[in-house]
Amino acid sequence: MNPIKEVPHSLLSDLWVVIAAYNEEPRIGATLHGLLSRGYRNVVIVDDGSRDRTAEIARHSGSWVLAHAINLGQGAALQTGISFALARGAPIIVTFDADGQHNPDEIPALTAPIMNGHAEVSLGSRFLGHAENIPLGRKLVLKGGVWFTRLFSGIRVTDTHNGFRALSREAARQIKLTQNRMAHASELLDQVQSLGLPFVEVPVTIRYSAETTAKGQSSWNAIKIVLELILGRFVR
């Protein structure tokens, strides 16, 4: 593992890291270690109805653990974590994947635009940064998602389904994720655009492994996401 970078003291106390986890027993321990060993104190794990020991491992780490009684989906779990962090007075919230794809050393760079007051939302982009070992099919689907988002929401970003992002308190308060499953990522961008929240994209690294690729969303889910987003606009 690379040597841990020094994290500004104010960031350690101001930052709340929200992680949605579903059946992540083999990976959640390392992900939590990566965050807690860097001094991040406010880590919220939302166990989304896992059938394995995800919640137990998270509990022993000293993180906040919230448990969904049933599996609702990543979007629902993130909204639960964000609502909880807001209720605890979180000034800045970072959403982080449970499977170790994200690099905790990049949190300071991701949150810097919000800390400096330059943006309310900071979006990680693997296409501005690095996507290690990304399968070609996944890359093509993600690029298609970028174009769909431009047409659907009118927002110009380079990476639409990156779970590594930071929100100011004000942005987190205004954004309400209603898409329980994977469509939440596009919904979040849609709301950033419609609410007129200032945003920036920050280069980040996403590490793909055979394990995370197998567990991840199939490319066919992209079609489902598009349908859910379009139909979701008509249901209030």
Binding site: P3, L36, S37, H60, G62, W64, L66, T80, S83, L231
Partner: protein
């Protein structure tokens, strides 16, 4: 009248009467639903009572055959009904999400850690 008409028309007539009575005397809460149903029973009654009527209406609006008109109406009704149930499903799912979220936040806890996190 043929056997099918003898069988269906009294039933549709009864349904028309029941919903018509409900429209006039029932609770206002369900008035819209009853009205929609009343029109559906009424259209079915008229179409079965006078099968040539659908052909006349179809020709009047540029569709050649009455059966085509009925098919198109069924397709539209199917799409509308599907979307209605989809919407209901989404609303129910949102309510369930709110309940699960409320419970999760209410029961959130943080155990004092027994582990140390050495800097590597």
């Amino acid at each position: 009248m043929n056997l099918f008409q003898w069988f269906t028309l009294p039933m549709l007539g009864l349904l028309l009467l029941l919903d018509g009575y409900g429209l006039l005397m029932g609770r206002p809460t369900f008035r819209r639903d009853r009205l929609v149903r009343w029109f559906v029973w009424g259209a079915a009654f008229a179409a079965i009572c006078n099968p040539n009527m659908t052909s006349s209406v179809a020709q009047a609006i540029g569709i050649q055959r009455g059966t085509d008109l009925v098919l198109y109406l069924f397709v539209l009704a199917f799409m509308g009904t599907s979307f209605y149930f989809y919407s209901q499903n989404i609303r129910l799912q949102r309510q369930l999400t709110d309940v699960v979220r409320h419970l999760a936040i209410r029961e959130a806890h943080q155990e004092p850690t027994t582990q140390s996190w050495p800097k590597s």
